[in-house]
């Protein structure tokens, strides 16, 4: 192992003295983090209204009040007349049953039914459910304070009193809005900063690493190493460890950068890795391993350093786009989400979101970590078979 470290540290030193690598490692990713955080600010259901078709079969004053409550609960309500309901397409639809107003006033339980089309976005559905519960809670709260006992005669003034209560800001907002199974889609900096971290770990390692591997292969230093007492396994192990180290250096640099951006509130960006930043770091180790494995394979396949530069770049881009570094995969079609699973970036983003957005601990990211380690082992094995050390 000492011999493998000797090679890995040597290569990492070489990597860090190359100026173009530093550009990739420090300047570019921070610029991208800022850019994407600002551009994508305020997207996703955390801040965005969720569209909801409402069929009000009751048409009583309380059902109308409930619709008002929905609108103030960040639903984008599209009302559809009951007669037109069957012929209107929808993604999410809420049906307020006949007799809603009467039942509520009579303190009888009543169901409002939320139906979803099977191709609707799951994460948005979940967010919709959570918001619906909140709307119900607030509606009940308003009803309680309104405290109207009369069943038959409700004056216009009373009705307006209820609407006024509904329009009031809630006194208590539940901070952990999406705790539990209802997960929001990360947005803004919460998506972009982890996304850029995952993307630049691929970019830096795949471009810089495959370039240096190709250069060593062509320049003879790799074959020269093989003339020493080092075995092929030790040489490749050293290269792989080096790539993992570079990946982790990149990860730490960007974690620090992300934290600093959030702390300083640059461009009004609100971000933090949260109290479990060390879980983030540990979770990124198998990701760095996967990225290192991919890079070893690229280094074995490439014939020229130009190939490494251009194709390495492309691989990084494809991994980033399809793995959900640029935009949340949750907002992509189902097919894209399944495709994403074939890229390490996807699992890295899953792990990052689990820790950073949902506050999960190490035990919450064991699956993505295991998948990433599997990717790493597979690619490293392929890479070792492809890489001709002895020239």
């Amino acid at each position: 192992m000492r011999r493998i470290w000797h090679l890995a540290l040597h290569d990492t030193r070489l990597f860090l003295v190359a100026r173009e690598n530093l550009f990739f490692m420090f300047l570019m990713p921070v610029m991208f983090m800022l850019f994407f955080s600002v551009v994508f600010r305020g997207n996703g259901p955390t801040d965005v209204s969720i569209s909801l078709q409402v069929v009000d079969r009751d048409s009583g004053f309380l059902s109308r009040a409930f619709v008002k409550q929905l609108e103030s609960g960040r639903f984008d309500v599209v009302a559809v007349a009951p007669a037109a309901a069957d012929s209107t397409a929808y993604i999410r639809r809420l049906i307020i049953p006949v007799g809603f107003t009467d039942s509520v006033l009579a303190h009888r339980p009543v169901d409002v039914a939320l139906t979803k089309k099977s191709d609707s976005n799951l994460e948005y559905d979940a967010a919709a459910e959570v918001r619906l519960r909140q709307v119900q809670a607030r509606f009940l709260g308003a009803l309680a304070r309104w405290n109207q006992e009369a069943v038959s005669e409700i004056s216009v003034a009373d009705q307006e009193a209820l609407l006024a209560l509904i329009a009031e800001q809630p006194r208590l907002t539940v901070a952990a809005e999406f705790a539990g199974s209802g997960r929001p889609v990360p947005s803004g900096a919460g998506q972009s900063i982890p996304g850029m971290l995952a993307m630049f770990m691929v970019m830096t390692v795949a471009i810089g690493g495959s370039e240096s591997l190709t250069r060593e292969k062509l320049g003879g230093t790799l074959a020269r190493l093989a003339t020493t007492t080092y075995s092929t396994g030790e040489i490749l192990g050293g290269k792989l460890l080096h790539l993992v180290l570079v990946g982790m250096v990149q990860a730490m640099v960007l974690m620090a950068a992300g934290q600093a951006i959030g702390r300083l509130g640059l461009f009004g960006i609100d971000f933090s890795w949260g109290p479990r930043y060390w879980v983030v770091l540990v979770g990124l180790v198998p990701y760095a391993f996967a990225v290192g494995g991919v890079t070893l394979l690229l280094g074995g396949l490439f014939r020229t350093t130009q190939q490494a530069e251009s194709l390495g770049w492309m691989v990084g881009m494809v991994f980033a786009a399809l793995g959900g570094c640029w935009w949340p995969l949750e907002i992509m079609p189902r097919g894209a989400q399944i495709l994403g699973g074939f890229f390490p970036t996807f699992w890295a983003m899953k792990a990052l979101h689990a820790v950073v957005t949902f506050g999960r601990g190490l035990d919450g990211i064991l699956l993505p970590m295991a998948v990433l380690a599997g990717f790493g082992a597979l690619f490293a094995w392929l890479g070792a078979r492809t890489m001709k050390v002895t020239g």
């Binding site: 011999r3 000797h6 040597h10 070489l14 003295v17 190359a18 320049g219 003879g220 230093t221 074959a223 020269r224 190493l225 093989a226 003339t227 020493t228 007492t229 080092y230 075995s231 002895t390 020239g391």
Partner: protein
């Protein structure tokens, strides 16, 4: 005594191409053994098999009695390889390159420091030791390339054309270093296609072409294969047959290599001499545009063995 390097029936085939075709030789302690051959002769392929980079199709390599195939680590510890293509870390300084290589061979601390300083001094790079190698001239890179192979003070050093593409002064420096290494009892296998180097440096050498050893021995032994005497080279408008016939009528004159318009003949040392030989050829009615007389060298031997010039 077991030779430091022994190569037995080494053969390497790449697809249809036989790069090395059954080579055997042995090199003793403190000896410089030369491998003289043109481009594509199979020199690098042989070296690669000796140092374990290539697996021989057939044959075996022993270093101090140990087989490269069976015990690569022990063999590689005893061997320093200087590849034909300069293989250095361009971004690092000469010292950092040597230190990295020293670390590979488990040098540490003061031992490492002393060894690196000694080598930098030996190859004359001590004053530029801290500069990145990419700023170095071709000759300086070649010297560092050589030093890298010496870090662990190996018993056997394989030098694959260590002077290719550099100026005479830099080449001279490298030859001096090689002589110093051997003076310390180390053994060197030296490949080259410069015959002056081979003549100047090597105790024994093999002339190789198309993967075969055509002749082997000390420089004097090899020259003796041409015969004792001077080489007479003539050019003119004659045919090969005319010259052959004319030469056979002159006593003490032996054809070495004859073609249309060109001939190389050996004038025997004990015969009647060069002027007698030329007179005989003139009398046979031949005319020449150019005549030269010189001592035979390995180039001539190569020409005789292969019918080609060493340098294409």
């Amino acid at each position: 005594m077991t030779p430091v390097l022994e190569v037995r029936d080494l053969r390497k085939v790449f697809g249809d191409l036989v790069a090395v075709d059954g080579i055997s030789f042995a090199v003793g302690e403190g000896e410089i053994y030369g491998f003289l051959g043109p481009n594509g002769a199979g020199k690098t392929t042989t070296i690669s098999m000796i140092c374990g980079l290539l697996k021989p199709t057939e044959g075996e390599v022993l270093v101090q009695g140990l087989s490269v195939a069976d015990d690569p680590r022990a063999v590689k510890r005893r061997m320093g390889v200087v590849p034909q293509e300069v293989a250095l870390y361009e971004e690092l300084s000469a010292r950092a390159n040597l230190e990295f290589w020293g670390g590979i061979f488990d040098l540490r601390g003061k031992e490492m420091k002393d060894r690196v300083a000694e080598l930098l001094d030996q190859v004359g790079l001590d004053e530029r030791a801290s500069e990145p190698v990419k700023n170095f001239s071709g000759g300086m890179k070649r010297r560092l390339n050589l030093a890298m192979g010496l870090v662990h003070d190996p018993q056997l050093i394989l030098l694959d054309e260590p002077t290719v593409g550099i100026d005479p002064q830099a080449r001279h420096k490298i030859l001096e270093i090689v002589k110093q290494i051997v003076a310390k009892g180390r053994t060197v296998l030296y490949t080259t296609h410069y015959l002056e180097e081979a003549e100047d440096l090597c105790d024994r050498l093999a002339i190789i072409d198309n993967g075969c050893i055509l002749a082997e021995g000390s420089v004097d032994e090899l020259k003796a294969q041409l015969g004792e005497g001077s080489l007479l080279t003539v050019q003119g408008g004659f045919g090969a047959a005319d010259l052959t016939t004319a030469a056979s009528g002159v006593s003490g004159l032996q054809p070495v290599e004859i073609a249309d318009g060109r001939g190389m003949l050996l004038v025997g040392r004990d015969g009647p001499g060069v002027s007698h030989a030329l007179e005989g050829l003139f009398q046979a009615g031949l005319t020449f545009d150019d005549i030269s007389i010189k001592e035979p060298n390995l180039e001539d031997l190569f020409l005789r063995l292969t019918g080609r010039e060493l340098r294409d």
